[in-house]
Point group: C2
């Protein structure tokens, strides 16, 4: 399973570099060779290869050697595992903040009549 602790460490570590994210953006449009991945980046081929190795180590990228060319492709399962972890935490905290907002609105009275309209409900002084 990709959502094991060590795998998420590597996936998030791989995502933490802007050059590697650029490579993943390219691969989201389809497979590419290592040299194609390096083209928009101002770095040596050796540096590009190292980044590709980090991406492969994380499971985000798979590569296959056909003749003299190594072709890389994006693995959606690794993206899903990272997205799932974030989404679970985000949903929990948003739900909590929604409930807190509702509670505050209830205890403060109707949300339409806030501090801008401070007329008390029993203002009849006849």
């Amino acid at each position: 399973m990709l959502n094991q602790v060590a795998d998420l460490d590597r996936v998030f570590q791989a995502l933490a570099d802007p050059g590697r994210r650029l490579m993943l953006e390219r691969l989201s449009e389809g497979p590419a060779s290592v040299s194609e991945l390096g083209r928009p980046l101002a770095m040596s081929l050796a540096a590009v290869v190292q980044h590709v190795q980090v991406l492969e180590g994380s499971g985000l990228v798979r590569s296959q050697k056909l003749g003299r060319t190594r072709t890389c492709s994006l693995n959606p399962a690794a993206l899903r595992s990272a997205e799932h972890w974030i989404s679970e935490r985000r949903t929990l905290i948003e739900r909590r903040l929604d409930r807190l907002g509702e509670y505050l609105a209830e205890t403060a009275g109707s949300p339409d009549t806030g501090p801008a309209d401070p007329a008390p409900p029993d203002s009849s002084t006849s």
Copy 2:
């Protein structure tokens, strides 16, 4: 905006550590003090403080000092920016793979009759 390159670098870097992810899991249930965050982790308070600083630097966590206690809370906007980046790439590649699957199914004939049923369409030899 949180989806700037440097911010995503820091957000993914912050997410790459299992101890920091444990802190974020705790904070997704509601605010907590620094010492509460450190309780399940086998590390010194100084190390916990350092991790909290990384989380604050990434924008994932905000903290506020009330009296002697620093209370931390989770910032859903930073989670959303990371989730959004991943989700965009994942959607693109999944769509591409779906189209590729459809193309292969079309060129191979009906998906129900695959290589297991290789009868040619003009096999009438009468």
